[in-house]
């Protein structure tokens, strides 16, 4: 069943691939895509300093490339596989927490319609983030199911793909310590070695340093603007799923206190996210914890109640409203809808952009009211009955 769900999610991803249009910048490679394409076609010592530190997935993309596909098609083919793997491990995490299959369908459909977990890569295929997210999610799944050997191995792959995989590593190590199984933490040593080796091999002038990251905190000098943008993307990064979670902060907090290693994972990603301008492109790596949270929320509040159907509908509704999955993309929409912060912080935001995002914030407020109202009305009905 999980395989079927992953295939269905991949099908939705492919639908977005057909309906979203394709990026034209850099002859279809995009901006970072040039670096990844060079890594694949010319060698692992090519590309920019940053893309060189993420060698695994461009290396794997050589397989479809060697079969005769061109650069973009090779990345597209790999993204379809990554989407399948990602949705499969999401289904497995949900299954681990005992979520009913119909709610699994809702969650996977929700993620397959989101910008961060699907549409971005349908429009801008020459990236490795979807693959890295799939590996991080897989590592997280094996960690929470206490299969430390496999988790350590997947962490090795994930860390060779994207630096955010460090969160999965911390999560695994923390969990083994918390459970008093500290020898099992040794399984994660190879991934630490790989992380150090990759960074050592690729570090050069121009690579990001901790001081660069701290300097990036300058965005917060416009606290209202940046905090608003950050809050918006935290609430909407996974569409209705994240909206549902942010309206229950206290419950989320209590869950994370019970599972502190997941809090570690979350804090690591959030910590890195606040130091970058791309916001949701970093926040997307919180997905495994978000899935675990939604699974627990389902078990605690939705399963077998009359809330299940309206909340599922509201989640999909919020996803459609905030992610606009079937919108045909172009460069103008890409920056206006997905990265408005570039114009806002660049000081070139038009009054129309400000008005548009003002409307979006109102829409988000309404969505939050929707979720709260559904929960309250259901509670009222139950108390009356």
């Amino acid at each position: 069943m999980n395989l079927a769900l992953a295939a269905a999610g991949m099908l939705i991803f492919l639908t977005l691939f057909l309906t979203s249009g394709r990026i034209v910048a850099g002859d279809g490679l995009g901006w970072d895509g040039h670096g990844y394409a060079s890594l694949m076609t010319e060698g692992l010592d090519q590309g920019s300093v940053i893309t060189r530190s993420r060698p695994l997935l461009p290396f794997l993309t050589r397989i479809p490339y060697s079969l005769g596909l061109d650069v973009i098609q090779s990345f597209q083919a790999m993204n379809a596989i990554y989407a399948f793997v990602l949705y499969l491990f999401v289904a497995l995490i949900l299954g681990h927490y005992g979520v009913h299959v119909r709610f699994k369908i809702v969650v996977i459909a929700n993620l397959a319609l989101c910008i961060a977990t699907s549409k971005m890569f349908a429009y801008y295929p020459v990236l490795i983030d979807l693959g890295a997210l799939a590996l991080v999610t897989a590592a997280f799944y094996f960690t929470i199911t206490d299969r430390d050997g496999i988790a350590g191995a997947v962490c090795v792959l994930a860390l060779a793909s994207r630096e955010f995989a460090g969160a999965a590593l911390l999560c695994g190590v923390h969990r083994t310590f918390r459970q008093g199984r500290w020898p099992a933490a040794l399984w994660y040593v190879p991934s630490v070695v790989v992380a150090i080796a990759v960074r050592a091999a690729t570090s050069a002038e121009g690579s990001l340093t901790p001081s660069d990251l701290i300097a990036n905190l300058a965005f917060w000098r416009s606290p209202m603007l940046y905090a608003t943008a950050f809050a918006y993307f935290v609430a909407t990064v996974f569409g209705g799923m994240s909206v549902l979670l942010v309206v229950h902060p206290r419950w989320c907090g209590s869950f994370l206190r019970e599972q502190p290693e997941q809090a570690t994972f979350l804090v690591a990603i959030l910590g890195l996210s606040v130091m970058g301008l791309d916001i949701w492109r970093y926040l997307m790596f919180t997905l495994p914890v978000a899935v675990a949270l939604i699974a627990h929320y389902y078990r605690d509040h939705l399963q077998g109640t009359r809330l299940e159907r309206p909340i599922a509908a509201a989640m999909l509704f919020a996803t459609v409203i905030t992610q606009r999955p079937f919108e045909r993309m172009d460069a103008a929409i890409y920056f206006r809808e997905w990265f408005p912060q570039y114009d806002v912080f660049g000081g070139v935001a038009s009054p129309e952009l400000i008005a548009l995002w003002g409307m979006r914030l109102v829409a988000l407020t309404m969505l939050i009211i929707l979720f709260v109202s559904i929960a309250r009305s259901s509670r009222l009905q139950e108390s009356e009955s």
Binding site: F317, E352, A363, L367, I374, S377
Partner: protein, 636 residues
């Protein structure tokens, strides 16, 4: 009646309070109408494109005809057959009596309300509270539809998205109906939504399927129940396609004919201020063009003053435009007009060098251009100033090109051959192709454009390419020894290449003849010697029904050439008898005529439209009968 209405409303799980709230949503939706009217009166580049399409629909209504043809862009192109023009979109057909700015504003408000009301219905059907349903509706209003005019005006999203919540509500309701026939409301909204989506069914399919899957997941499947949940969407698809056949059949016919001709090229976005396009209209220039009466074609080489969308608003025909060039050959021809320096490009964005550069005047005349809007003064030997404002001028051609004229019969050949010959040779005054004879001329330092243009005109030199250092390549139109001597003796000519200065003999040769392995499916004018062209008298032109009537006195057997873009479905009648028309010079229409006086008529073929309408009517009949049968059966 009231009781029946009450029963119907309560069957949706609604009561009076819900109706009041839905009405209140309408009030919120119309709040921005006055703002939108203001914006629609001064639209930006994106809004102007969408509005230019609707102008054709409005104008057809004024002409009491169908909007079959857009005579204002790209030398004319099919209109109704292109579903993006929304000519047959029912809400717009009902609103079309309104003036355009009000029409646009009311349409946006209507669709915002439809989306919000649909969302409210879905929420109530899922048994959530009124406040939650209201919050969901407000999220729709603020999230997508209740946003700035310019952002949504160009996209069809506002129309295609507006129906989705209502479709979801009807689909959820229909899934509860234990019959194979979907509920009538669902059939109606999906049909209208399909037309609103310009027949792009991706959103509709996703919404209908998701709604049925959602209904199936949360309801206990029982014997026949699960069957109808599968059958209903299939029947729904058939009914919706059948009912919207009136739009689908012409669209399929249109796309199949242009696809067959390998003639579709991608859409072109309007240019914005950032990439040098116009963001606001140039009122003085617009007024000047409007005052010309819309008789001659307009070519704008100055996008910042006026572009292809503006000419539609003015009611003047143009050779440019935005929103997709359907006939790639037209774009290819335009590339030839641009001159040899221009690369082949898949889009048409005007002819920048037409004013004074190497644009091909002979080919420009085939486009029927009479007025030029230019940022820099064009060759005064060819263009006379009509109006100048803030550095932008409107110029009238001193050698007006007739929109239709008699000439000798073309020769059948292939596309590559046509393109090669048009590139390597030029038409003379008799519309006979003469191979290029390219010479170089160096002008004195500091020569003005006007002086150079005057000398070019005197010496019969057609600019071919500016190769820098004051030196130009020219196609020598008059190769007589007298003209060669005149070139060498001209006081402004510093130096030449291609002429032996001692013997006054041309040292250049005509382009070599090439042969191409290709099927001979098209026609080329001017291969054989011919008399001077005879302009036709235009009795009717630039109509939204695609009609054009000319009279011509043909000195002998030949063709009447029309500066009208060739489309398969624009057919020709000579003296009331339908005859085949020909595709000449890559992109144009010509009709064979014998010697004598003739009346030639071009009409847009409406058979696909009526076939579609008949199919829609049959589907409607079958559906109504089936619905009656289902109701009788369920009542029994």
């Amino acid at each position: 009646m009231v009781q029946r209405l009450q029963r119907y409303v309560s069957s949706w799980g609604l009561d009076v309070r819900d109706l009041v709230l839905i009405a209140a949503l309408a009030i919120v939706a119309i709040l921005p109408v006055s703002h939108d009217i203001e914006r629609a009166s001064k639209p930006g580049p994106f809004a102007r494109v969408a509005m230019s399409w609707e102008i054709v629909n409005h104008r057809a209504l004024d002409e009491r005809t169908l909007p079959l043809w857009n005579p204002y862009q790209f030398g004319g192109r099919p209109h109704l057959a292109n579903p993006e023009m929304l000519s047959l979109y029912p809400p717009h057909m009902l609103l079309r009596f309104l003036p355009l700015p009000l029409f646009v504003a009311v349409s946006f408000a209507l669709h915002a309300w439809l989306a919000a009301a649909g969302t409210y219905l879905v929420a109530r059907m899922l048994r959530v509270s009124r406040s939650a349903a209201l919050a969901a509706s407000a999220a729709i209003l603020f999230g997508r539809l209740f946003i700035s005019f310019e952002v949504i005006a160009y996209s069809l999203d506002v129309y295609r998205l507006a129906w989705l919540p209502l479709i979801a509500a009807c689909a959820l309701r229909s899934a509860e109906r234990p019959t194979w026939l979907p509920r009538p409301e669902l059939v109606v909204v999906v049909t209208v939504g399909l037309i609103a989506s310009a027949l792009n069914a991706a959103y509709l399919l996703a919404t209908v399927l998701a709604s049925y899957v959602f209904a199936a997941m949360w309801q206990s499947p029982a014997g026949s129940w699960s069957r109808h949940v599968v059958v209903q969407p299939v029947i729904l698809a058939c009914l919706s396609v059948g009912l919207s056949a009136v739009q689908i059949v012409p669209a399929v016919r249109f796309w199949s004919t242009v696809q067959r001709a390998n003639a579709v090229i991608p859409d072109v976005s309007p240019r914005t201020l950032q990439d040098g396009g116009s963001t606001q209209q140039h009122p003085e220039i617009m007024d000047a063009l409007r005052s010309l009466g819309g008789r001659g074609r307009v070519l704008s080489t100055c996008d910042r003053a006026i572009d292809g969308s503006d000419v539609v608003a003015l009611g003047v025909p143009g050779v440019g435009g935005y929103g997709g060039v359907f006939l790639a050959d037209y774009a290819r021809f335009i590339t030839l007009v641009r001159g040899p320096q221009e690369p082949i490009r898949a889009v048409f964005q005007g002819i920048p060098e037409a004013a004074s550069g190497p644009a091909r005047a002979d080919l420009l005349s085939l486009l029927g251009v009479e007025y030029l809007v230019a940022c820099a003064p064009p060759n005064p030997q060819k263009w006379a100033l009509v109006k100048e404002s803030r550095g932008v001028g409107v110029y009238r051609s001193l050698v007006p090109s007739p929109r239709a004229f008699w000439t000798c019969a073309p020769v059948e050949t292939g596309r590559q051959d046509i393109e090669y010959r048009l590139r390597e040779s030029s038409y003379d005054s008799h519309f006979v192709l003469q191979s290029h004879t390219i010479i170089h001329v160096r002008w004195p330092e500091g020569i003005s454009d006007a002086d150079r243009a005057r000398a070019e005109s005197e010496l019969h030199l057609a600019p071919h390419r500016d190769i820098g250092d004051r030196t130009w390549q020219y196609n020598l139109l008059d190769r007589s020894p007298e003209n060669v001597v005149a070139i060498l003796a001209h006081p402004l000519v510093e130096d030449t290449q291609g002429i032996d200065r001692s013997t006054h003999v041309l040292k250049v040769f005509a382009s070599p003849t090439r042969t191409f392995e290709e099927s001979r499916s098209e026609w080329l004018l001017g291969i054989e010697p011919c008399d001077a062209p005879v302009p036709a008298t235009v009795l009717m032109q630039d109509r939204t029904d695609g009609g054009m009537i000319v009279e011509v006195n043909a000195p002998r057997d030949g063709v009447v050439f029309f500066s009208e873009t060739y489309y398969l479905d624009r057919r020709a009648w000579v003296d009331g008898k339908r005859i085949p028309r020909m595709k000449v010079d890559l992109a144009f229409t010509a009709v064979r005529v014998p010697a004598g006086t003739h009346r030639i008529e071009l009409r847009y073929d409406t058979r696909a439209l009526w076939a579609g309408a008949a199919l829609s009517a049959i589907t409607l009949l079958v559906w109504l009968l089936s619905e009656r049968r289902v109701r009788v059966a369920s009542a029994g």
